[in-house]
Amino acid sequence: MFNRDFWSEIFMALRRNKLRTVLTGFAISWGIFMLIILLSAGNGLKNGVTSNFADRIKNTYTIWSSVTELPYKGHKAGRYIMMTNKDIQLLESLYQVEEVSPVISKWGTLIFGEKSRSIGFNGVKPIYKNIEGIKVSEGRFINENDMKTKAKVVLIDQDTNDELLRTTGEMTMIGKTVFINGLSFTVVGVCKANMWGERGLAYAPYTTMQTIYNENKYYQMEFTTKGLDTKEENEAFKAELKRKLAALHEFSPDDRRGVWIDSQMIDSLETMKIFNTINIFIWIIGIAMLISGVVGVSNIMRITVKERTNEIGIRKALGAKPRSILLSIVMESLVITTIFGYIGMICGIGVTELIGMAMESSGGLSNGNGMSVFVDPTVDIGIVISATLVLIVSGVAAGFAPAWNSVKVKPIEAMNYR
């Protein structure tokens, strides 16, 4: 049945109806192509935005110092609330809190040989790396041993590292001694810029900084939680924490400010919800496109079969069996959908891969703050293949109805059809 003659008949029919073949084919290629482009754009957006948070652990909270908005218990509005060790104790007393990571932030001048540079100088705990999603490119991060021994070690960021290497001609900064605000530190690691793209940063052990500056003032404090999985649990905890902090610092529990509390979990749940909505939207558009492709194929097949009624009648008179007519028409539409679906698929994948590659080499599309907004705009190949398969199957179905009708017509009627 499916011998060379069979196929040559089919390709002959396709060649004879070039315009039809190309139009149908284009509709199909375009449908698949656009579906892939749409899906990958959605993915790119999602990957881009989530990559900003991806390396941060999700059960993280951040508290920022802020200014009160409401007067309360004899305090005037506009009072600056500064966090202290009492806040750390408060947090550590809560059973939901796993580990508190206060940050001592100072401005400093880093000197290495001839070179000096101003930096943000932060005393952090080892957990800070996970909370902020810091990537260490060379050496290591602050560890528990540094904390215990209050070691005078420091991590510098990539930008600072590269500048120091360039101006001094050194090969590596690891193990070198640098001076920060007049004190000597040994460089133990180099890290990438943080998620905000900030440059000129150094990290030393929290305990070391505490000893040096005897600090009891925190602008920012982070902590990890346990057992808070849902949005509701997090919202409840956040409200409870706000009340406790309000009581501690004597500001109104209704004050929208005083302290800012931000939950990474809530943020990421919200983000995921937005992307799920976008995704559903994209799928609806994509499926509409597929359907219009299928309708196009079915319409064109119906017209073609109508046009070929006479020919089908002649073939029947010459002894063509219904099966052979049915098969050849169905196979025609199958061949069109398969070939052009495949072309659309290859083009779509090609274009998205090219864009993906271009973005990778340029570090992704970023907004002004160095946050990426568009990363790896590619689609799961399984989805692409199933979409193409759906189209191919529909193509067969689209060809089947008119083919079946033409088979049922009496040969003489088909031959006399005008």
Partner: protein, 235 residues
């Protein structure tokens, strides 16, 4: 070879039209029969029923000893392919196939291999002097050439019967005479032949002339075509 008993056929259009009102006809193997009658008398209808291109409402039709009634499309296709060759007034060649491909098509449906198919088709084209036209498309051929291609196509499967509906209807008198000579030669090889025509000159070349009137056989006239003077025009 063909045995029709009390064949009825009604077209159910806007108004039911009782076209065949009980046809009884026997055509023996090797006979050459013509069917004559006024326009609309049901000649084509009858021939289409004989060719299993259309069905009939009532009566019995036996073809080569087989009962032809309520056949499945598959069986009908097999009968047509095996027993019958068709020749039409409007040729009914497939326009996008060459003469050779047109002639080879019935063999394709018999499952004959490509090489053998083309060789056989070429042999038949050659027999009707069309060897040089094998690769031409129908629109590049004259009416007579087209009809010869369609005769070659009808004969290529070595059918038992040739059914021709106004085979010379679209041809001039000279070409008509040539085509009729070919059909007579074909008949001489033992192939049964039924020709529908409304031209007396054509009917005179057959041995039996069936006159159809108002859906019934009015008379069957015996004829001796050899008495015909071929130097005379047949139209």
């Amino acid at each position: 070879m063909i045995k029709l008993e009390n064949i009825h056929k009604t077209y159910f259009g806007a108004q039911p039209l009782h076209v065949l009102k009980g046809i009884n006809l026997n055509v023996e193997e090797g006979e050459m029969v013509s069917i004559m009658g006024a326009s609309g008398s049901g000649k084509s209808t009858l021939l289409n029923i004989v060719g299993i291109l259309d069905n009939y409402d009532d009566g019995d039709y036996h073809l080569a000893g087989h009962m032809v009634k309520d056949l499945s499309e598959n069986q009908a296709a097999e009968f047509r392919n095996k027993y019958i060759g068709f020749i039409f007034q409007s040729f009914n060649l497939i326009p996008f196939k060459t003469a050779l491909e047109n002639v080879a098509l019935p063999l394709f449906y018999q499952g004959v291999g490509r090489k053998k198919r083309n060789a056989l088709a070429m042999e038949y084209l050659d027999r009707f002097g069309l060897k040089d036209w094998a690769d031409h498309y129908p629109n590049e051929l004259s009416g007579g050439q087209k009809q010869r291609v369609s005769i070659a196509r009808a004969l290529v499967t070595s059918p038992k019967i040739i059914l021709a509906d106004e085979p010379t209807g679209a041809l001039d008198s000279k070409t008509s005479a040539e085509v009729m000579q070919i059909l007579r030669d074909v008949n001489a090889t033992g192939i049964t032949m039924v020709i529908v025509t409304h031209e007396r000159g054509i009917a005179n070349l057959t041995r039996k002339i069936v006159h159809l009137k108002d859906g019934l056989i009015e008379s069957i006239e015996e004829n001796d075509p050899d008495k015909m003077d071929f130097t005379k025009e047949i139209k």
